[in-house]
Symmetry: C2
Subunit: 331 residues, 2 copies
DNA sequence: TTGAAAGCGCTAACAA
DNA sequence: TTGTTAGCGCTTTCAA
């Protein structure tokens, strides 16, 4: 048996298709009697609206495209993705909208995304971990509203976003380390083309001032191996360091291994501070003192911005949420 | 300016809409001349097919719904999700199909999924980490094809799936521990309503036989905390144990902490084997000897099964792929 | 090999 | 407050 259409519902309720449509779309001009009859007819027939048909006439799709860049190895771990996905799906579902996933890895992917979005298949775009200078951003400019979870470097004024106050988080950690009496504080940063890479270093420098010398800074790529390498490098350059702020927990786990290999005790000889408060933070030995980000709130705000734009808001302001220091044993 | 339609392309190419449509759909009856003219017209106008319109007539949506249950805390970590998502998006994109994400957490979610799918909005359903006895499975039975990434307990013959050979993996670990000369081998399992929980225990029991006494088995819920608790419990019940197989790396990290607290050296006093080969496995101290699952292949096979079914295959066989022992330092 | 034309199911403008 | 009706853009017979 075929799926019932609005026509079947109208027939069963003894009204016209137009009236059923009005009810479906929350129009106020529907009499109580008609309403009751239609609602009964809907549940009797098991009617479900055909989105394709609706979309054909409304020019809306009820769809948001989540576009994931896939940079660094971080992707595989990143709780951002799962949290954001869940929050997005949930919030969209409340409005009967759906989330479609797209990858923007290579040129082919990107072209597909542009075709899809410009082809009118999405009412909005949700960017995630977009690279600085990603051509996709400008290619998308002419289409439906787009927002980013986390700022898009260099496009902060063009793409609205919600994000963690990374710089604040880095400051919190740096201040904590200083407060613990540490004198020679080093840092291992993330990639310098990501907000986390840049801003966590900025926050660190805010606090350390000129003590944050080049000698005490190493760069990683979010992987554990890079944390290990970075730490070894720092140890070679500044053997007298007594603390290190590592821009991610995973890299911090690598740093811990390098310190252990060098025979340094943590936190006695060297204090180690992480960032993210990920699952890794509690599985290392010792567990990491780190910075927690309000991931769920950031996700929520991101979607809120996008929905506002889809609803016609001409402009929305970025949202930046505070981080929190989590003290464990490594510092 | 409005988006060009098939009509504009037809006009620009000097043919009828029907001919353009035939070309678009790979019909063979299109003359080379017409083909060339149409292709030029398409690129000149920047035409993109309107899926809603197409879908209205074909009754196909070009969409697969990925339905995620969200059980245990494991979700947040699970590399399954990210790998599966990427693979699915990529494979579907090749056929110009898209992946929409749905949550099946509570009753409301589930109802929404059923409405969506039975409402004809998806050509196929991809189930992930579905609970044993989840009513969703039967509710979906009447709709479009569904497959699962990982077996659905109790519905193995109804929902085709691709999965890791969990039982084999557990056997590999158990055999390795025995081969290392361990005599009193304990196990911390996952939840006993998940394939990983059940089958990893079965594999363990396959090898240990009656040595796998109840006394040596503790149950966890995939969280690190549960691994720690489980280990403490085992240590209390069987202080003489000299090895433990923990059903996930994250739980194994917890077990490591409990062993450390109890003053046991790893692997000297107690060998620890994990499962998953996740990022946690290399961040613990010592790094975990564990079991690697071919996640990408499993994902790929899952999608292959689904596509076959969507293409009309009446029946497909489940696919089970082998695991691999990864030796590090914990055992 | 091609064109013409009939819908697919729905919304929204208009008339009643 | 309701019914009628004209499309939305596409595929797919059917005839030519």
């Amino acid at each position: 048996m075929k799926r019932p259409t609005i026509h079947d519902v109208a027939a069963a309720a003894g009204v016209s298709r137009g009236t059923v449509s009005r009810l479906l779309n929350g129009d106020k001009y529907v009499s109580p009697a008609a309403r009751a009859a239609i609602e009964r007819a809907i549940s009797e027939t098991g009617y479900v609206v055909n989105r394709a048909a609706r979309s054909l006439v409304t020019q809306r799709t009820g769809t948001v495209a989540m576009v994931m860049s896939e940079p660094h190895a971080k992707f595989f771990e990143d709780p951002n993705y799962s949290t954001l996905t869940r929050v997005a799906v949930r919030m969209l579902a409340e409005r009967d909208m759906s989330l479609v996933m797209m990858l923007a890895g290579d040129e082919g992917d990107r072209e597909r995304v542009v075709r899809y979005v410009r082809g009118g298949h999405a009412d909005g775009v949700l960017l995630v971990s977009t690279h600085a200078g990603d051509p996709l951003v400008d290619a998308l400019a002419a289409g439906p509203p787009a927002v980013s979870c986390g700022a898009v470097i260099g496009r902060e004024t063009i793409i609205p976003y919600a994000a963690t106050d990374e710089r604040l988080g880095a400051r919190q950690m740096a201040e904590y380390l200083v407060g613990q009496g540490r004198r020679r504080i080093a840092m291992i940063t993330g990639p310098m083309d990501t907000p986390g890479g840049i801003q966590r270093l900025e926050g660190f420098a805010d606090v350390l001032g000129r003590k944050a010398s080049r000698k005490l800074i190493a760069h990683g790529d979010w992987t554990q191996a890079s944390g290990e390498r970075g730490m070894a490098e720092l140890l070679a350059r500044a053997p007298d360091l007594d603390a290190v702020f590592v821009a991610s927990d995973l890299m911090a786990a690598g740093a811990l291994a390098a310190l252990r290999a060098a025979g340094r005790r943590v936190p006695d000889d060297v204090a180690v501070g992480g960032f993210d408060d990920s699952s890794v933070a509690v599985s290392t030995h010792p567990p990491l003192t780190t910075i927690r980000q309000p991931l769920a709130e950031v996700a929520q705000e991101t979607i809120r911005l996008l929905l506002a734009l889809i609803d016609g808001a001409g402009h929305v302001d970025p949202v930046v949420l505070p981080t929190e220091l989590v003290i464990r044993e490594s510092a």
